[in-house]
């Protein structure tokens, strides 16, 4: 932030670089202040940014996962949390047992008809802004169980998904990559809940936006939300 040049630390020592600071404000009072953060801020003890961007940066770097195990993928998800892969290194590895405390949900497994409504409920209970990582083939399309009579053909039938991680199951490294990508998108302000499915956009593409929203809203019966699990007829 203080320079256009790559910082010395990127290609050289990983110790905090103190050149700029030393030149401008002299040596720090105490070694405790020579942190990476201080270095990022440069000599000036403040930075100017938009509040939105600051919030995105904060959100991306401090994510609380929902402890949400469904099927096979949840075992690899646990491995991602646990020793060796340690998702916590990236500020995203403290699973919360309650959806009220979580802001990222990893959907690790096959969604079946009986569980679909429950998953939606858990998703609804999470506070905004919330993000979803779909883990494994089952959350993309139903995966190897796609032809099953009871299997929902992808978690996106029920909740919006920000990042899909393919694999059956994905390796922990793949999930890590997915989470990092999500963080990157959040930091750049690119990730927001997609509530309208792509094919719905196509279907209602001609309508002006307000009508579209109204039309979708009209379809929802608050008292009795009905979910359809056979999408053979959908586009």
């Amino acid at each position: 932030m203080s320079s256009d040049e790559p910082r010395q630390t990127i290609y050289d020592s990983t110790a905090p670089s103190t050149d700029t600071r030393d030149a401008r404000i002299g040596e720090g009072v105490d070694d405790r202040f020579n942190s990476k953060l201080r270095e990022a801020f440069g000599a000036s003890p403040f930075i100017l940014t938009k509040f939105d961007e600051f919030m995105n940066w904060v959100r991306g770097n401090s994510m609380f996962m929902l402890q949400f195990g469904i099927a096979c993928c949840s075992i690899e998800m646990m491995h991602t949390y646990a020793i060796k892969h340690d998702l916590d290194r990236f500020g995203a590895g403290v699973p919360r047992a309650s959806p009220r405390q979580a802001d990222v949900m990893i959907v690790p497994g096959t969604i079946v008809s009986k569980f679909g409504p429950r998953m939606k409920r858990v998703y609804d209970q999470m506070p905004e802004p919330k993000f979803v990582v779909g883990m494994g083939s089952c959350t993309i399309s139903g995966g190897p169980f796609q032809e099953g009579y009871n299997v929902v053909k992808g978690a996106e039938e029920i909740i919006p998904i920000d990042i899909h991680v393919p694999g059956c199951p994905p390796r922990p490294e793949a999930l890590l990559y997915g989470v990092l990508k999500l963080q990157e998108r959040i930091r750049n302000g690119e990730s927001s809940a997609v509530v309208v499915k792509p094919y719905e956009l196509e279907e209602f593409g001609d309508l002006p936006k307000d009508e579209l929203v109204q039309k979708l809203a009209d379809q929802i019966d608050d008292d009795d939300l009905v979910m359809r699990y056979n999408w053979a007829d959908s586009p």
Binding site: I70, A71, E76, S113, P144, F145, E147, Y149, M227, Y229
Partner: protein, 560 residues
């Protein structure tokens, strides 16, 4: 199939043949008039009985002939009839089997329930009703078990229309918290645990009724991960398309153990001899899987009892990572191995072999230290002992009644392990012990698993020695298996192996094509979970959680 061709079946069946001749005569006289025909399966003699004789026949078989283990109930629909098959065994000798076949008409598929005789029949018959549509008279609680209450039709019956959309309304599954209430009259409280709850090991829903802090009633509600495994297997060809699915039943890295269940059933059905070398690799791989699976059981159990992400959990995952690395070298995948083939395994040990041996031996050498660590951390811990000893008690006879198998049964003093009692693979030639504990409580089950880990290590060690010395030109990893397998139409077999959680059985009926006519999975967790009610009633709610953890259920296998 007719009895005439039976002596030509696989050698294992022949071994049991001499004794079973007299047994069959005894059985015939025991059943007398009630046996209206014979319908022999490859693994056992089968007797056809009338739908209203079920209870008397099964109780006679249990009390007079000693068939005290109702292993599985298979239901299926033929063109002209529905059929329920009760696969019975003896806990003392699981090779002594008998199948009771109960046909009912298509118009009126009503059959007597076996629930009054065997408690385990409760869920099995509910599943048969749910998926196939056979109705059971006298059943205490015949309703859907795996599918939502609103489901239309029975998906494994002949007239089921897959294309028909199913509607599942949110009202049906509305706020699970809402019905939590105090009962005004009896002063009890209803509480939902799950289906999304960290202590339920997946998506299990436990409906509990509390009296103060004591559990008055428990009812596990399953089906939140019912992904139609049986249908998937019925759609696949025997040769290659079925094998990937077993990995996903018990997905806690127990893939090879599950694959063996299918491999054993199809190899016996199609009469395929597996090369000895492949059997040793299978045995070694399976035991590695068993260790990985028991490690996870241990780690999550500590999580249930102690709290969140404690040392034990991280330690067990550290060890699992090592095993998964070894298995990845062997099979190419961390979890969903798809390594077994019909008639052998996919490929030989990875090159360089020395490195593989070295790596595996290193793991085995470190294991005793690690087990010592676990003993310090968990089993020797006073708090842990207070939580586990004498909680979740499952008496021996009750465990048998519920068809419990695996470490759950062995922790209750049932000396039953298919690796020894119904030998397959290379287990018979190796030197190892079956662990049993008489504690009947949560603690006994945990100890049982931990000691089994050491026994598995012993088996792997011996397998490694054998593999290392195996002559290079005799390393056959696969038998010569035809490209397309088409077992004779009407051949039926029920074969079980000792999975990580217990007896994992597969029933296959061939319809003459290259795909199974009926594929039924007998999941150990399904039967074990039923016993939760028995274990936790009258105990505190934390003990219910501990009992659930010590049952070590995997919902993928419970719901299939």
């Amino acid at each position: 199939m007719s009895t005439g061709t039976e002596p030509e079946t696989e050698p294992e069946a022949e071994l049991t043949e001499p004794g079973s001749e007299t047994d069959e005569a005894a059985l015939e006289s025991l059943l007398g008039e009630r046996a209206i025909a014979r319908d022999d399966h490859l693994n056992a003699p089968g007797f056809v009985i009338n739908p209203n004789d079920v209870q008397s026949v099964l109780s006679d078989l249990r009390d007079e002939a000693g068939y005290d283990h109702l292993s599985c109930v298979t239901a299926q629909q033929y063109e002209d009839r529905y059929e329920s098959i009760y696969h019975m065994k003896k806990f003392a000798d699981p090779t002594d089997e008998v199948s009771i076949v109960v046909p009912t008409t298509v118009d009126n598929p009503v059959s007597q329930s076996a629930e009054p005789v065997f408690r385990t029949a409760d869920w099995h018959e509910r599943e048969a009703y749910d998926l196939v549509g056979v109705e059971y008279e006298d059943h205490p609680d015949l309703r859907r078990i795996l599918l939502p209450e609103t489901w239309q039709g029975h998906p494994l019956s002949k007239d089921y229309d897959q294309e028909k959309p199913q509607l599942v309304t949110l009202t049906e599954h509305q706020n699970p918290i809402q019905p939590d209430h105090r009962d005004a009259e009896s002063d009890t409280m209803f509480l939902n645990i799950g289906p999304h709850h960290p202590a339920t090991h997946g998506v299990l829903h436990v409906k509990t009724v509390l009296d103060g802090e004591t559990v008055a009633d428990v009812e596990p509600d399953i089906g939140y991960l019912h992904r139609c495994e049986e249908q998937m297997c019925e759609q696949g060809t025997y040769r290659h398309q079925i094998m990937p699915y077993p990995d996903r039943w018990d997905y806690v890295s127990a893939g090879l153990l599950n694959e063996w269940a299918y491999a054993r059933a199809i190899e016996d059905l199609a009469d395929i001899e597996v090369p000895e070398y492949a059997q040793i690799i299978r045995t070694m791989g399976s035991e590695l899987c068993r260790i990985a699976s028991h490690m996870l059981a241990l780690g999550t159990f500590a999580l249930d009892v102690y709290g969140e992400f404690t040392a034990t959990f991280m330690y067990t995952f550290r060890d699992r990572e090592v095993i998964q690395d070894i298995l990845e070298d062997l099979t190419g995948q961390r979890m969903m191995f798809n390594y077994f083939r019909v008639g052998g395994v996919a490929w030989d040990l990875p090159e360089p072999r020395e490195e593989f041996f070295e790596q595996t031996r290193e793991f085995l050498n470190e294991l005793p230290t690690k087990v010592g660590e676990y003993n310090d951390l968990i089993t020797g811990n006073e708090i842990f002992q207070t939580r586990c000893i004498d909680t979740g008690v499952l008496e021996t006879e009750v465990a048998k009644d519920y068809g419990c198998t695996g470490p759950v049964a062995r922790g209750s003093g049932v000396d039953y392990d298919l690796r020894r009692d119904d030998p397959y693979g290379y287990y018979e030639q190796l030197d190892w012990d079956v662990i049993t504990r008489d504690g009947c409580d949560n603690y006994a089950r945990v100890l049982c698993r931990m000691e089994e880990v050491e026994e598995s290590a012993k088996i792997i060690e011996q397998c490694l020695d054998l593999l290392e010395d195996w002559p290079e030109d005799e390393r056959d990893v696969q038998a010569n298996v035809p490209r397309t397998l088409k077992p004779d139409a009407g051949t039926e077999i029920y074969r079980a192996v000792e999975g990580a959680k217990g007896e994992l059985g597969i029933y296959i009926r061939s319809d003459g094509s290259d795909k199974p006519g009926r594929f039924k999975i007998r999941s150990p967790c399904f039967s074990n979970l039923q016993a939760l009610e028995e274990m936790s009633e009258g105990e505190y709610i934390p003990d219910l959680i501990a009992s659930l953890g010590s049952l070590d259920i995997v919902l993928g296998e419970v719901d299939r």
